[in-house]
């Protein structure tokens, strides 16, 4: 055992990794030890979040690493690759000194499976037997001493859901009460010793089990150099070594030894087994199960729509106010314009998403924490699979109805690469709330507000557009299922944990960290694009822009009443937009969009609303110099109705309006989604393919709609 009084250089902060099976309360311990002192980063080459926190205790500082929940250190998924990479690296400066293994006391053997693998790696280990409360309820008593006798590593029994036990964990870390025992099983029994020796020498590893880990992960962890990977592959081929058989054998030997320990350590009280009534008989019921799920979703989205709109309006108002004040305060000029019209609204455009992101993830954290989420996966998997999706895809897809940004972020915990990519690719096709203003204006324009029977035509059209989105999702998913190739096998093995009350600290921290990640990582891209779009819309190539401004000012000077002022201002901004770079681009794309029934003014709105779909409405308002409140649907509608083509036809006839609605149903038209897909897929490949595909699909569909209707 490490002596507690080992002198440690003041500069070196001890690193402690927390590891455990999924659903054992590992993250709760991490959250309670570190609070808000958390940092989320990236591990190179994978999409797993790197969670690091700082714990301060009795004047000392400790770095705590929260590793992803895994059942083993076998190379099954990115989670295991990361756990192995962190625990097994040769870089001593990065390597955690101590490992805290969290075991759910009602799942002792499964926990010990991972714990003993850690022992074999030769790590300094301590075990926390968590959830003593739940096992007590199940009439299980655990004789901790029996486990200690067998493993010889420090064991702590706690209930991390209450404060009890947490101080013990802090104290354990503080006194460095970890122990390096080594060799629970002899890996030499399943792998030839010569092979192990060769790996150990080649990679300069301290023991045979680490050599064995190198042998297994060498083929899958991209952080290992190509040269070494080739060497490992050649070695395994040369010896014709059956790795799979060895892994199965290791698993058997390990479990056999563990079973003996568990038999001694666990005492189950033999009470009369009463038939316990399980709440899952309703929650997983073939009919009621789905009804309850639908009801929960309904409540969730109602709440998000109702509650998020309040802070969103406040944020909107705040940034508009700030922009106005800065404009008044700074001497007018390009810099003042950049700050007040480019940067501030750009930042506002990032911040505005926080309420929705925080709320959606708050709800998701509650569903996850109570144990309901894996029931959703259980219920929905069968309906998702035909489209190449996973039961876990349900949450991102349904969240897409509110906003694709948190929805794409929610695809994070789909383990299978192909299923995750398909989910991310199709989620933005769900009709999000930003499409609604566009739909409402256009439907109001061309669909009569008539009721046939009990069905209102306008409502029917809106419903149709939502179904169009779902159709797009299923069709695209099906297409991708047949295109994307993967060697990874799709499977579902998910624990349905016991129901329990949500841990509010964890819920709050999830809301906080998801919002922070979005602002820091996707925010940069959104801000950059919005500044570019602003420059395009406010500057033009010629001095025509200045002329327009001067003319406008001259006219303003002659204005006699406020009505006239509004009119002149609206006219000036319309002229400015027409002559800006964006206006020129709008004219430039006119030949391309004419077959869809759009003129160059709509072209400008299409380019401007690349930032976000709802920008279509405000841009249209500017182009047609609609003064007054641009949010007022009625004024916009009247104005649009008056727009006439050179041949005397209305610009916004039925064909054009429907073509536009279909275009907005499918087109990407949301830079924030692109930014978040970039962040979640760790590269530009998928967001670019997605944008091209969605724009192409939108163009083709809008073309067909216009040609058929006109």
């Amino acid at each position: 055992m490490n002596k507690p009084n080992t002198p440690i250089s003041a500069l070196k902060i001890p690193k402690i990794a927390i590891i455990g099976n999924p659903n054992v309360g590992k993250s709760t311990i991490f959250n309670q030890l570190t609070g808000l002192n958390q940092k989320i980063g990236n591990y190179p080459g994978v999409t797993v979040d790197k969670k690091i926190g700082v714990m301060n205790y009795q004047g000392n500082t400790y770095e705590i690493i929260d590793l992803p929940g895994t059942y083993s250190l076998n190379p099954n998924s990115e989670d295991e690759i990361i756990a192995n990479r962190v625990l097994n690296q040769s870089n001593e400066a990065e390597k955690p000194e101590f490992v805290l293994m969290v075991i759910d006391s009602s799942q002792l053997s499964r926990g010990l499976f991972l714990a003993t693998q850690l022992m074999d790696l030769g790590l300094s280990l301590a075990i926390v037997l968590n959830m003593a409360d739940i096992s007590a309820k199940r009439n299980i008593t655990i004789k901790t001493f029996e486990i200690f006798k067998a493993l010889r590593v420090p064991i702590l029994s706690t209930d991390a859901r209450g404060e009890k036990g947490l101080d013990q964990i802090r104290e354990l870390i503080h006194t460095r009460n970890f122990s390096k025992k080594g060799d629970f099983i002899a890996i030499e029994e399943v792998v030839p010793i010569t092979l192990l020796d060769e790996f150990q020498t080649k990679f300069q590893l301290p023991n045979h089990y680490q050599a064995y880990q190198m042998l297994r992960f060498g083929r899958v962890d991209k952080i290992i150099s190509q040269e070494d990977r080739d060497w490992i592959k050649a070695k395994l081929e040369e010896l014709n070594f059956d790795l799979e058989a060895a892994q199965l054998e290791e698993t058997k030997i390990r479990y056999k030894k563990i079973t003996k320990i568990v038999e001694l350590a666990v005492v189950k009280e033999l009470t009369v087994k009463k038939k316990k009534y399980s709440i899952d008989q309703i929650f997983l019921h073939p009919i009621f199960g789905y009804l309850i799920f639908a009801a929960i979703l309904l409540v969730m989205f109602q709440a998000i729509f109702a509650w998020a709109s309040v802070p969103m309006d406040l944020i909107d108002g705040f940034f508009a106010e700030l922009s106005g004040r800065v404009n008044n305060y700074l001497p007018s000029g390009p810099l003042a314009n950049l700050i007040s019209e480019g940067l501030i609204p750009g930042i506002g455009g990032v911040v505005i998403f926080i309420p929705q992101i925080a709320m959606l993830f708050g709800f998701l954290a509650i569903l996850e924490d109570t144990g309901y989420m894996s029931r959703v996966v259980f219920l929905m998997d069968r309906w998702m699979r035909p489209y190449g999706l996973h039961g876990k895809s349900v949450v991102p897809l349904i969240s897409g109805v509110a906003c694709a940004i948190p929805a794409v972020m929610a695809a994070r915990n789909i383990g299978n690469w192909k299923e995750k990519i398909i989910t991310i690719m199709v989620t933005p096709l769900m009709s999000c709330s930003a499409r609604l203003p566009v739909y409402v204006i256009l439907i109001g324009l061309v669909v009569p507000d008539k009721t046939i029977g009990v069905i209102n035509l306008q409502a029917l059209t809106l419903l149709g557009l939502y179904f169009l989105g779902i159709l797009g999702v299923l069709g695209t998913a099906f297409l991708l299922k047949n295109i994307l190739k993967t060697t990874e096998k799709s499977f579902l093995m998910v624990e349905l944990p016991s129901y329990r009350a949500p841990r509010w600290l964890d819920v709050l921290l999830t809301m906080y960290s998801k919002s922070k990640t979005f602002v820091l990582e996707a925010g940069k891209i959104i801000l950059a694009i919005s500044v570019v779009l602003w420059v395009l819309a406010s500057y033009g190539p010629s001095n025509r822009m200045d002329e327009i401004r001067t003319e406008g000012e001259i006219k303003l000077a002659t204005a006699t009443n406020p009505m006239q002022v509004d009119e002149i201002e609206a006219e000036t901004s319309s002229l400015l937009l027409e002559n800006s770079f964006m206006g020129i681009m709008g004219r430039g794309i006119e030949p391309v969009i004419r077959p869809l029934g759009y003129d160059w003014k709509i072209g400008i709105a299409l380019i401007a609303s690349f930032a976000a779909r709802e920008v279509f409405v405000s841009t249209i308002a500017t182009i047609y110099s609609i003064g007054g409140d641009p949010e007022d649907d009625l004024t916009i509608r009247q104005k649009l109705n008056q727009q006439i083509r050179p041949n005397g036809e209305k610009v916004y006839n039925t064909a054009t309006a429907f073509s536009l609605m279909v275009f907005y149903a499918f087109a990407m038209q949301c830079m924030s989604t692109i930014a978040v897909v970039y962040r979640e897929t760790k590269g530009w490949k998928w967001p670019l393919i997605q944008t091209a595909y969605m724009t192409g699909l939108a163009y083709l569909s809008a073309f067909l709609v216009y040609q058929i209707l006109s």
Binding site: R110, Y255, D280, L284, P286, S374, F378, M493, E495, L496
Partner: protein
């Protein structure tokens, strides 16, 4: 009588005989689906959806496909 776990009915308890060789064998064994263990089918999602088995103190959901890799002995 030998069957595979996807063929048993809800509330039925069986003993695992062996796990059929496949790339998922290791995943199943890691989770504790080991020969000699008894499992009980607790829930089954409609239309050939996933199945939830009780193994010791936990409930684990598997697709029919994965359950068919578990050879079981009826009690």
């Amino acid at each position: 009588m030998l069957k595979t776990a996807d063929q048993i009915s809800v509330t039925q308890t069986v003993i695992i005989k062996e796990i059929i060789d496949s790339p998922l064998k290791l995943n199943l064994m890691e989770l504790g689906f080991l020969p000699g263990k008894s499992i009980t089918l607790r829930h089954s999602a409609p239309m050939g959806g996933p199945m939830a088995f009780q193994l010791d103190e936990t409930i684990l959901a598997l697709r029919k496909n994965e359950a068919s890799l578990i050879k079981v002995q009826l009690l």
